[in-house]
Structures are given as C-alpha cells and as structure tokens.
C-alpha cells in the first residue's frame, strides 16, 4: 500500500501544483517585475523572462489549462475508443465500417489538423485544438481497444449473455468493459502523454493559446532567444511538461490492476 502511495505522489504533487499554482504565484504573471532575462535573484527565484516577468509565477500559472485540456482529451479519446471498440467486437458488420473510417483518419497527422485550425480560426482559443486532438487521436486508441475487446467478446460469458437477449449496450458495459480495465487504464496513460504533446505543440505553434497568457509551451517559445541569458526561463517549463507527462503516466501504471493468474497445464 505504501509503495503505491509513494509511486502516486509525484503525479499528485504535479496535479496539485498545476491546479492550485495560480493561487500560489507571488507576482502577477503578466506584469514585468524585473529586468528582461534577469538571472535568479531575491524575489525572483527563477529569474525573469523576455519582458522581465517573473518566471516562477508564470510557471505556477501556466500548467492548469494544459493539465485540464490533456486530461479531457485523454478521457474522451479513451472513452469513445472503448465503447466503439467493444461495440465493433460484438457487431462485426458495424465494426468493419468503423475500422475503415479509423483507417482513413489515421492517415491524417495531428500536427496538420492543428495547423489547419490555426489558419482557419486565428485566435480561437483551446477548444478547436482539443476537438482536433480527440478526432485525430481516437482512431489509434480505437484500434487497441477493439483488439482487446475482440477476445473478450468471444468468451463464453458474453455468448451466454447474448443468448439471454441482453442489449448491446448492456453487453458493452456489464460484460466487456470491466474486463478491459487493464488495457483501458494503460491506454488512458498513453493518451494522456500524447495529449500533452499535442496541446504543447499547438501552443508552441501559437495555435490556441495566445500571448500574453502564461503557458508552459508558449514560455519555451517566447524565451528560447534568451536561453543563454536566463536558461531557467526555458528549462523550467520544459522540465515541468516532462515531469507532468511522465508522473501521470506512471500513476496510471500503478493504478492498473495486474493480470490475474490463470491455470496453465504442463505438457
């Protein structure tokens, strides 16, 4: 039990920091408080950025939207994929149509989708980025969920349930989904990392979030020119993104139930 708590703590700490960060920020994140690219000093532990704003305050301010958007993308993508995957395993005809559609969508790179949005709706905020990430991310997750659901759908207990006339949705939620817990939690962790990549890439390309909003990816881009003057202005947000992605994925791994022992005969 203790080991579980220890392995969950980095993720919990990151989530708390990202959510409560805006309340803890010592300075206003959009107001200059020191010289541009000032080195860390009294009152500005991580120095100043290109306009002399406090890097620490911007760091504390810039994680929440990223976290919320990434979690939303991961949960929605995994949820849709799980339901579609289970339904496809039960209804092969419908499954074939969904699969062909997924094949087509897989061909479209997410970065391309983001750029199209950036060009079509300049200054549109985060929502279109989230929608693009969901639409273009679901096909990958669907493939995995469908493959995992196929073997469960062929089990005896699903046969018995369909023989007693259970509706498709009842089969999906009662019989199949509970047995995909391991796969779905792993998938959720992977989709979270992927979502962090997509959202940060979008911010870096200035699609979705616009200056002067505090945002980790945007900070990297804005301060890249001054990396030799105050490296922390770039390093701190980069590390924050990496630690968030890795720690949350690790937490999902800890929460994933281990496969149960199955009887195997020798010979």
């Amino acid at each position: 039990m203790n080991r579980v708590v220890v392995r969950l703590s980095p993720a919990l700490a990151m989530i708390l920091l990202a959510l409560l960060g805006p309340l803890l920020a010592p300075h206003e994140s959009t107001e200059p408080v020191t010289a541009p690219y000032a080195l860390p000093g009294f009152g500005v532990p991580l120095g100043g950025d290109q306009l002399g704003r406090d890097v620490l305050s911007r760091l504390l301010d810039g994680g929440r939207d990223l976290l919320v958007a990434s979690v939303a993308i991961a949960v929605v993508v995994t949820g849709i994929a799980a339901i579609l995957g289970a339904v496809s395993a039960l209804r092969p005809t419908l499954g074939a149509i969904v699969e062909r559609t997924a094949d087509v969508l897989i061909l479209l790179p997410v970065a391309l989708g983001i750029l199209v949005i950036g060009v079509s709706w300049p200054g549109s905020g985060r929502i279109p980025v989230v929608v693009a990430a969901i639409v273009l991310g679901t096909p990958f997750a669907f493939r995995i969920a469908a493959a995992a659901a196929a073997s469960v759908a062929a089990s005896g207990f699903v046969e018995v349930a369909s023989a007693r006339g259970e509706r498709t949705l009842s089969l999906v939620f009662r019989e199949i989904m509970p047995n995909l817990r391991t796969t779905l939690l792993t998938l959720l962790g992977l989709r979270f990392v992927e979502a962090v990549y997509v959202v940060t890439t979008a911010s870096f390309l200035e699609v979705g979030t616009q200056p002067p909003t505090a945002d980790w990816a945007l900070m990297i881009r804005e301060n890249a020119d001054g990396i030799l003057l105050n490296p922390w202005a770039v390093l701190a947000p980069s590390l924050a993104i990496a630690v968030m992605a890795v720690s949350v994925n690790l937490a999902f791994d800890v929460l994933t139930p281990k496969a149960r022992n199955r009887t195997v005969t020798q010979l």
Partner: protein
C-alpha cells in the same frame, strides 16, 4: 535385460490428501506394450503424465519410486527434465489436436519435433496413414480434419523415435479402420524397440495389442456411490426438434460446418453429441441456442417453430434453452462476483425483486452443491469444478427446459467431471430438464445419456440409443 520403466508403490496425492493415482508395481522391458486400464478417475492420465515428469498443479505429495531409463524423472531439475523428454519420450495426450500450433505448417510441425536433418516427413506420414504429398505438408492444422490432426500429433511423437511412447486414450474418436492401422503401427514400433504405454477405455484393443496390462483397479478419485449411473426415463413428449440444420463459417456460405443435421430430444431426455474435434459439435450447440449467424434449417421448440437467431426469439423462448459454454475459464465473467453473475438472469427472466435476490442466489448455489458463501467470490477464486457448478447454476437461474452443455467437463479431472455430470443427472429427474451433452469422451456419453448422435465432418453418421450406437463404434471391423 534392464527395465526401461520401473514403478514401485507409487502414489500421487494432492496436498490435502486426495489420492490422484496409485500404482503398486509396473515394470517394462524394451519393446513391450503396456496397457493401462481402470475406470474413470482411477488416475490413468496422471500416471502417464507423471512418467513424463509432469505432476498436476498445486504441489502434490509423491510417495514411492518412479524411474524411466534409470532416472528418477520426478526428481530431475527442470533443464535436465526437458533434455530427457526431448531425447527419450514421446507423449500424446487426450485431445492432441489442440496441442498443434495452428500457425505452423505440417512440414514445420514435423521437422520441429524430429529435430534432425535426415528425417523424412514423407515416411512418417505414410506410417500414420496420411497421404505423403507436398500438398498435405503445406497445410496448417486448421485445414485438416480432426482425425488427421490426431495422426499428425502422433507423427510428431514418433518423429524423434523415442525410447518410451506414452499415449493417453489414442483411439477416442478414431473409426475402425484407423484404429486397426494404429494397432499395426504401434506393434511395428514396439518390434523396433520402442516401449509403449497406452491408457485406454477400449478393452478389446488392449487385449489385442498389449503384452502386459496394468489395472489401476477400483477408482481412487470417485466415491463408490457414483459408480451406479441412474439414467432417468425419457419422458415421452418431444421438446426439441431440429430438421435439416446447415451451418457455414462465413456469410457467403462457402465454408460449410454442418450439413443437414436432424435431431430430436424428448422431455427429461439426455442426448449426447459426440465426434472428434472439428466435427461441428460446438457449432451445433451454438446454432440451437441461436448464436451462430450463418444457419439454415428448422428448429421446433415444443410445438412452435423457433426462429434461428436469438434476436428473433422472444424472452420465453430464450429462457427455455440455456447454454453452458465450453471454456471453463471464459465461462464466467472474471470481473463479477458469483452472486452478481447469478442475479442477472434471475432478474431478467423471472423478475425477482432485488431484496429477494440473495435468498434465490443461495438456493441456486445449494442446488449445484455449493454453499452460499460462494456468492461473494470472484471466478479466479474458484476451482475448475466450482466454476462449472456456477455456470450450471447460472443456466438454471433462467428455469430452462433444455440445457445445452458444451464440453463442460473436458478441462476437469475425471472425478470432478463425474461429480459435475451427476449434478446434471440429478437435476434432470428433479426439474424435468432435457440435456444435450456435447463431448468427445465416449465413456462419459455412455454412462450419462440415453441417446447419442455421432457427428463426423458436419454430418450425422449415427443417431440412436447410446448402447447400440457405441457398441457398433467399438466393435466395428
């Protein structure tokens, strides 16, 4: 001459003292054929497997000595045991077809088993009575019939020319001609110096072939009461009738599985469907339950025609036929407790209100010989036999008229299988239940059913009273 095999006072028991097999004395010289006989549950399979150095799961206790070619196989370390098996032993278990890797071609399956370059795949195929053509060598196990798969499995065991060949029920599912061929082959191999042990229910075969017979005697696993097999009267009226049922594996009707199967079942009757693996037994069970998609023909339930697909049947029709599926690990939902599994059909078919569910669940568990504490358990906390009892209880929850049991005992040891069959037989007389028992174990079919239907490559080859049909199977030729 030294003994190839030497067993003295061997006894293998589970950790809680349940004796699995006992053999006082067994010695075999080079080139002898030993028949191992005894009723179900007397430990024939366990004995053969322990000669191959494989003990049942759960750290059993072993007393006495067992040596093969001068080595105590049960005491060998794992790597030496593998080496020993590779060099000296050939083992063909029950249902050997399932042990063939479905992705490998026959050519590679044989070469893998032989392990030397000079070996001739053609020769070994001719030995087991298969056509030695390149076409056959290029096929995969799924493209062979059940009987051919059995012979490929035997060919694999023979390919390395083992010193000791262990065969568990080699004739189950073979017709008279193949059985004769197997006899000649084994005799020939024995003359060339292979020591052969075979366990068999087929006494005439043992008499014809074996030099020595070891009788494992009174069953050690099955309580004496169960050796009487009550077969209740089939109660006259027809409950289920199937006419000209054909089934295909695909929607375009290109790959046939069943060809015009007819059968009839009377109330409280018990029908066995036997046949080798791949003969269409499971498809027939699924078609009757309405689960198989690509079917044609007519099914009549009572006096009313029954829609072929489960979607077309009304709840009452679905309630009357219940399936107990094959795979003992997949038969129960691993994520739900036994109580939850049993509650669902109770609510769906009988509308039992939530507050009465615990009582009803406990009642069902008692019916199949389990205590009510099992309601809290998950399937992985149950033994194979207990899981099958729960599966039976789940089917009974719907209050059915017909139970379709698809190989429900095939993954269980002999004594547990007997217990499960006895639960079913008792229910049959107490609840007016008709049974369809699908099995590849002919002895089981003989003891527990009144009529039998023999399937061969999707066709009914025999249908009639169990005693008549199986007598002719055993004594043909």
């Amino acid at each position: 001459m030294t003994n190839i095999l030497d067993i003295l006072d061997l006894s293998i028991a589970t950790a809680d003292g349940h004796v699995l097999t006992r053999c006082d004395r067994l010695t075999a010289e080079k080139g002898r054929i030993i028949g191992v006989v005894g009723p179900s549950g007397s430990g024939k399979t366990t004995l053969l497997r322990s000669i191959a150095g494989a003990l049942p799961n759960g750290v059993p206790t072993v007393a006495g000595s067992l040596s093969v070619l001068g080595k105590e196989v049960l005491a060998l370390p794992a790597s030496e045991l593998r080496e020993f098996r590779r060099r000296h032993l050939g083992f063909v278990g029950q249902d050997p077809a399932s042990r063939l890797n479905p992705r490998m071609r026959i050519r590679h399956l044989l070469a893998e088993a032989a392990g030397d370059k000079q070996f001739s795949a053609q020769q070994i195929l001719t030995d087991v009575g298969l056509p030695a053509t390149d076409e056959l060598l290029g096929r995969k196990p799924g493209q062979l019939s059940g009987g051919q798969q059995r012979r490929v499995a035997l060919a694999r065991a023979l390919a390395r020319r083992p010193d000791v060949l262990l065969l568990d029920e080699p004739t189950v599912g073979l017709d008279a001609v193949l059985r004769e061929m197997l006899c000649e082959l084994l005799r020939d191999r024995a003359d060339k110096g292979t020591t052969i042990l075979l366990s068999c229910h087929d006494i005439p075969l043992i008499e014809e072939l074996a030099d020595d017979v070891v009788d494992l005697g009174a069953s050690v696993g099955v309580p004496a009461v169960l050796t009487e097999y009550p077969v209740p009267d089939a109660g006259g009226e027809e409950v289920l009738r199937v006419d000209g049922l054909s089934a295909w594996a695909d929607s375009r009707h290109r790959i046939p599985i069943l060809h015009g199967v007819d059968l009839s079942l009377t109330g409280r009757g018990a029908l066995a469907i036997v046949g080798v693996s791949g003969s269409g037994k499971t498809t027939l069970a699924r078609a009757i339950t309405g689960l198989h998609k690509h079917v044609q023909g007519h099914i009549t339930l009572g006096e009313q025609p029954l829609p072929l697909r489960v979607e077309g049947r009304d709840p009452a029709q679905r309630r009357r036929i219940q399936l107990i599926p094959q795979d003992s690990l997949g038969t129960l939902n691993p994520s739900r407790t036994v109580g939850a599994t049993l509650s669902r059909p109770l609510r769906l078919f009988r509308g039992v209100p939530a507050r009465d569910l615990p009582v009803q669940v406990a009642g069902l568990l008692h019916t199949v010989g389990l205590s009510e504490e099992f309601a809290e358990r998950y399937p992985h906390e149950l033994s194979g036999g207990q899981r099958q009892r729960v599966a039976i209880a789940r089917a009974l929850a719907a209050d059915p008229d017909i139970l379709v049991c698809d190989e429900i005992t095939s993954s269980l040891d002999a004594s547990t299988a007997e217990d499960i069959m006895n639960v079913l037989i008792e229910l049959r007389s107490r609840r007016d239940l008709a049974l369809i028992v699908i099995t590849h174990e002919i002895p089981l079919a003989v003891r527990h059913t009144s009529t039998v239907l023999v399937l061969e490559e999707g066709r009914v080859v025999q249908h009639g009273a169990t005693s008549d049909v199986l007598a002719s199977v055993f004594h043909r030729g």
